[in-house]
């Protein structure tokens, strides 16, 4: 545990994410709580007392909108990543375990998925599903499945060939026990790494969709939407899009640092135990 804290990337990434999550959770206490009422006389106020991040075109407090927007963006990202992690891990281990035709067919389907840029897949799924807060996570999460699939599949294949799984078979262990006791626990750390970077990817995907106007519809604030609204007044009041962008960037940075950190932390350990 102590040695985890020696890893700077994990510490910085973790602290960053913790801070943002804390701000977002404490939003009712540290903001006015009113993120939607229009106050036209006070539109486009610069950051100052009462409005730490200024106000937007409708006179809404940007600080409030960003913190409440974080609730939407973060929960969409968590749901999307969880969906991708569960599906990808399941499909990947089944594919690797059965091999042969099953593996081949699943593999080709994943190839098709991966041949589209992720954002395009999200757009297509989003249009089919008519994006709402409830379905947004599907259009972001489904394109992330191949990330988890590939990682789980290749790790399952290599762990299946390891001596300890062969030893377990020679003791009379069935396939279920091997998957649950040996394969999944050894894949888990790799899932964490992918999970962290997928979280960053999903936050970014939500914002990009919002920016392009395919995001979660008005008036629910999400980071993507806040950026989208702000972009039209980029020159009159850069703080709207600017601060929303800053939150997005810091969150993505936090998750990427965490992911890289976990990988570096695990690597020497894994290397030691493999050699």
């Amino acid at each position: 545990m102590k040695s985890i804290l020696k890893n700077k990337q994990i510490v910085i990434g973790g602290v960053l994410i913790l801070l943002i999550v804390l701000l977002v959770l404490l939003a009712p206490l540290i903001t006015s709580g009113d993120y939607s009422s229009v106050d036209l006389p006070n539109k486009h106020l610069a950051p100052g007392p009462g409005h730490p991040f200024g106000t937007d075109y409708y006179g809404r407090d940007v600080w409030t909108r960003i913190l409440y927007g974080g609730r939407i963006s973060l929960s969409v990202a968590v749901c999307a990543t969880l969906l991708a992690a569960v599906c990808g891990t399941l499909i990947g281990s089944v594919s690797a375990y059965f091999g042969g035709a099953v593996d081949f067919i699943i593999g080709r389907i994943m190839d098709v998925f991966m041949s589209f840029p992720m954002l395009l897949s999200s757009l297509i799924i989003g249009i089919i599903l008519k994006a709402s807060v409830r379905t947004m996570f599907l259009s972001i999460g489904i394109p992330c499945i191949p990330m988890f699939y590939r990682m789980t599949r290749s790790n399952t294949l290599s762990i299946r060939e390891r001596g300890f799984t062969k030893a377990a078979v020679s003791m009379g262990s069935g396939p279920m026990r091997i998957v649950l006791r040996h394969i999944l626990p050894n894949v888990l750390p790799h899932i964490l790494v992918v999970f962290s970077s997928a979280m960053g990817g999903c936050i970014l995907a939500e914002s990009s969709l919002g920016f392009l106007g395919f995001g979660i519809p008005q008036p629910t604030p999400s980071w993507g939407l806040v950026v989208n609204e702000g972009k039209s007044f980029m020159f009159q009041c850069p703080w709207t899009a600017g601060f929303a962008g800053l939150f997005i960037a810091l969150t993505v940075l936090g998750f990427n640092l965490l992911g890289d950190g976990i990988r570096d932390y695990l690597d020497p350990k894994i290397r030691n135990s493999y050699l």
Binding site: G163, F164, A168, V169, S170, G172, R181, N186, S273, Y274
Partner: protein, 332 residues
Amino acid sequence: MTQSTNTADQLLLKAEYLNKKFSISTGRGFKKLSYYAVRDLSLEIKKGEIFGLVGESGCGKSTLGSMLLGLQKPDSGSILFEGKDLTNLSSSKLKELRKDIQTVFQDPYDSLDPRFTIRQIMEEPLIIQGIGPAEKRTEIILSLLDRVDIPSDFLSRYPHQLSGGQRQRLCIARALTLSPRFLILDEAVSALDVSVQAQVINLLLDLKEQLELTYLFISHDLSIVKFMSDRIAVMYFGRIVELADKHELSRNIRHPYTKALFLAMPEPDPDIPVEVNHIEAGVPSLINPPGGCAFHPRCPYATDRCRKEAPELREISEGHLVACHLACEPIS
């Protein structure tokens, strides 16, 4: 080692005409190339002996071992363990039989799950086989750890906290948890430092006497096989080319490949004349096996007959089998 001839000749395991073919994709379409890793191989292992199996890397030793262990099914042939054919047992019977045949692999770092503690590693076979209750399992574990000289306060440690020798001793202890009668030791000491090797070899020899075990000792290193084994089978290209009692084999080598192996040993036996030239050509390709005797491209005695006709494994004197056309005359 005073066994009555009666028990000495009791068979533990008899394998007949084992074949195992692998195929690899060529990278071009669906076309596959196949080759035999083990070919028409028969052998008998007697109760209480150490049966050594030696041959270059890639000759099929591990494939044979994993078939005898029931990890891979042979494409054809039978494996009788105490009369039961383990190639066509029901899965519950096979699980029962697994208690009797256990294994120690080459790489102790690879054969221990890095996420398991020593206790979990030792307990796993007992749990899988439904041996309990927990106190009884602990008792078995502690007595075995004691036998292999691992302190009992290591129970909550992880494999990466152990030295190479300790890990291999742990693998040996784990293999013994189910009280097997037959151990397959596939390169069990090959990955260890020389000093540790001697220690583990002595441990294996002690355990064999104390627990009345039978070993199949597989290694590419003839000097270790020669030290460990009672009988030695020399394997080349998926087949046994010579099989004899250790002393008979040192005295009376009949196969040119065996001779080459003895010559390649670090300390050549002074009894063997050194005039035989070292084998030059490389290992032939499995995919395009040479016709006739598989050894002929490397054999200094090869004749036309060798290039056309594969020699059978024949008994040339009591318990000494050779697969070579020239086997009737000793090599000079």
